[in-house]
């Protein structure tokens, strides 16, 4: 066991820290020091500008190979980058659903041609990807989805019909990756195909709508006989094989639930800010029980950090975490709510005002729902990790 960083890793941290400090200030300056939410039209443009700044310096996806837009950083360096990013107060990543959800699947299942086309454009924020999984009647029960893609050999492509919904940032994205039923006779997990869809196609309508936090961060996407040509993207529009969609998609879910979507740096930074908030508020008349809750949140963030170091080591040495990623999703999503609720209680009546904490709290409430509800995660953990019998 050795829980220290090497000199090279410390040097990388110092480099990232300096770069972020300079570039974040410059970016805010460029936008008149008025940064809006990335889930609004104007704010999205500001965040795109930031994504391109990251890309130009090789920081958009540090762990990717250089040829596809990354800098070939190790998993450890990625963790360091994330710690520094959130410590510096870096903004939400509007490219996130592509970089963290689609990209791992492209690396695993994409052809070389698909990888060469999709990944650099994703890292450079030229193509913006949203996830097309949920449907009005297929949420936790994703396998009941009914959006269909009908093969049209004459024209060489797929005809898409149906509706996706609760699509994060769908209104601002250029492309959608999603699951479609390509075998009309199929049931449940079979007969699904993972398709890559440019949203500009005729017959696709995207309607943005408000999330609980007030941003227009959700969209519903309607497919009305939209024709998706096989050559809409170099390397084709099917990721993995036709009919293989479920197993291809499951590779993405473990990325989404596990480490890649929510690195510990996010939560250790929030916990540190909570400690700082307590320090500021402690001058007033503060309930002593709040200190205990601040510490509890801080400790859980620390536990998440340490558990991650263990997981990354195991991964590097070929001991896969597998279904245990469900525990990770439960931990960070419930911790995030807890940290923010404690912050609101520290703020007292002032917590009603719009600020980073009240905004963050509203966002944290989505954590136990998206990426597979926490009820589903508990089922998965109990069945696949503990080995309890299925229904």
């Amino acid at each position: 066991m050795d829980l220290t960083w090497s000199a090279d890793e410390e040097a990388f941290r110092a480099e990232v820290r300096t770069w972020l400090e300079t570039e974040l200030a410059a970016w805010r300056e460029r936008h008149g020091n008025r940064i809006l939410s990335g889930d609004t039209t104007e704010g999205f443009a500001q965040h795109l500008d930031w994504e391109r700044t990251l890309f130009a310096a090789g920081y958009a996806a540090v762990s990717w190979p250089q040829e596809v837009g990354g800098r070939g950083a190790s998993r450890w360096e990625w963790l360091i980058f994330e710690e520094e990013y959130y410590r510096a107060g870096g903004p939400q990543r509007v490219t996130q659903n592509g970089i963290f959800l689609l990209a791992p699947t492209v690396f695993e299942f994409g052809t070389p041609e698909q990888q060469a086309h999709i990944l650099p454009r994703m890292a450079g924020a030229e193509d913006l990807w949203c996830q097309g999984w949920s449907e009005p009647n297929a949420g936790s029960d994703l396998a009941s989805l009914t959006c269909k893609a009908t093969r049209d050999d004459e024209r060489g492509g797929w005809v898409l019909d149906g509706q996706k919904t609760w699509t994060t940032r769908g209104a601002f994205c250029s492309h959608l990756f999603g699951l479609f039923r390509t075998d009309p006779e199929s049931q449940r997990h079979r007969g699904l195909t993972y398709l890559l869809v440019p949203l500009e196609l005729e017959g696709i309508t995207v309607r943005g709508f408000g999330r609980l936090d007030g941003d227009e961060g959700f969209a519903e996407v309607f497919f009305d006989g939209a024709f998706l040509p096989d050559d809409a993207l170099p390397g084709g529009v099917v990721l993995g094989g036709v009919g293989e969609g479920w197993s291809v998609a499951m590779a993405t879910t473990s990325s989404e639930r596990g480490l890649t979507l929510r690195s510990p740096g996010r939560f250790t930074a929030t916990a540190d800010r909570l400690v700082e908030l307590h320090r500021q508020r402690a001058k007033g008349d503060l309930d002593p029980g709040l200190r205990d809750r601040v510490v509890q949140g801080w400790m859980k963030a620390e536990a998440y950090r340490l558990q991650t170091l263990q997981t990354v080591t195991d991964d590097a040495e070929g001991r896969s975490a597998g279904a245990a990623s469900s525990f990770v999703k439960l931990w960070w999503s419930e911790l995030d709510v807890e940290l923010h609720e404690t912050a609101l209680d520290l703020l007292g009546a002032e917590a009603e005002l719009d600020d980073a904490w009240s905004k963050g709290w509203q966002f944290s409430l989505s954590g136990p729902i998206y990426a597979g509800t926490n009820e589903i995660q508990r089922n998965i953990a109990a069945e696949r990790v503990l080995g309890l019998p299925r229904k």
Partner: protein
């Protein structure tokens, strides 16, 4: 960066695990329980008991393996290893609910005597398993396995901040040698054989400052590791039971409510364990944050074990609420350990101080 144990550390863990599985099954844990009734006239325990001499044998076996001296330098007859080497062994001793002062002797007193040049000349006897060493901390007057302890230390902060280790002489109800019969206190986990410490004469102590604080941290760490082990034991019992037990024509473990209880317990243990391991590494390497990490570990492990005990009992239903079934042995041990060497709230206060709030 590498957050994993070495093959040697894991092999040692496996050897101790195998030994305890064989020599310290539930009937041996029960054999440590006194016969008779408690102060309220209630029976102390039921179920199959092993012969009392099997209780003593486990300790002798551990001594022969060298486990008792794992944290003592080779020059003083130990294995010359550190916290990161014994933390998994402590976890196994918790999994087995070992009815001996493993934390007090192996994790605390033996390394402390090694650090302080064995001022009372007892280390060799401790390592040979001939003398059981006890330790009490934070003003506790309850000495676990107090009827067998023949060397006792107190680790405390008498003036609030400075740590002091003192030898306790006098004060155990009837004499300080094992051959004198001492009165066991009536306790929830009677298998801990607690003796209440009476008035004793305090001296200036033989260790202070960082040495004394490290002794305390080792106690909290060892106990945190035992709590993780106990939690795993209770989880294993529960997973086994709910897969077997049928109600409504299906195993109760197929019901979501049962799954969710056990998933919560497993999650709490899964996130407490790495903190315990990191605390061991930090103590072993003298990291400046070591005490803070130990306290984080003890707080999370205490809460995780208590949650697991609750969920384990709940999914067992009435069978778990009997003394014939084994669960209570582990449940009661976990509850006692969650409050020794500082309870979760005490350790959170220590973390708060370390964070400057």
């Amino acid at each position: 960066m590498r957050f994993a144990f070495t093959d040697d550390q894991l092999a040692f863990r496996d050897a101790v695990r195998d030994l305890l599985a064989k020599e310290c099954p539930p009937e041996v844990v029960r054999a440590a329980w006194p016969d008779g009734t408690d102060a309220h006239g209630a029976r102390k325990g039921e179920g199959a008991r092993a012969d009392a001499d099997r209780v003593a044998k486990v300790w002798t076996d551990l001594a022969e393996m060298g486990v008792l001296g794992i944290g003592v330098s080779e020059a003083n007859g130990g294995l010359g290893m550190a916290e990161v080497d014994w933390v998994l062994l402590a976890e196994e001793s918790g999994y087995a609910a070992l009815p001996h002062p493993f934390v007090e002797t192996t994790c605390v007193v033996a390394p402390l005597l090694d650090d302080t040049d064995d001022p009372h000349d007892v280390l060799a006897e401790v390592l040979a398993g001939e003398r059981q060493a006890g330790a009490v901390s934070l003003t506790s007057a309850l000495v676990p396995w107090g009827d067998a302890i023949t060397y006792l230390v107190s680790i405390d902060r008498p003036q609030g901040d400075g740590w002091v280790v003192r030898r306790v002489q006098g004060g155990l109800a009837v004499g300080d040698t094992a051959d004198q019969k001492r009165t066991l206190a009536d306790t929830v986990d009677a298998g801990r054989r607690v003796v209440r410490l009476g008035a004793w004469q305090a001296d200036a102590g033989f260790a202070t400052g960082a040495t004394a604080e490290r002794a305390f941290d080792r106690g909290a760490l060892g106990t945190a590791a035992q709590l993780v082990g106990l939690g795993r034991r209770m989880l294993d019992l529960s997973v086994g039971y709910v897969a077997e037990r049928q109600q409504f024509g299906v195993p109760i473990g197929s019901q979501q409510a049962v799954k969710h209880h056990l998933a919560d317990a497993a999650m709490a243990l899964r996130f407490a364990a790495p903190v315990v391991y990191a605390a061991a590494w930090e103590l072993a390497t003298g990291a400046p944050t070591a005490s803070r990490t130990v306290s984080t570990a003890k707080a999370l492990a205490s809460d995780a074990a208590r949650l697991t005990a609750r969920q384990a009992l709940q999914v067992h239903g009435a069978i778990g609420y009997t003394t014939e079934y084994d669960l209570h042995l582990y449940l009661k041990r976990a509850e006692a350990l969650s409050r020794t060497w500082g309870d979760a709230a005490w350790h959170r206060r220590r973390v708060a101080t370390a964070l400057g709030i």
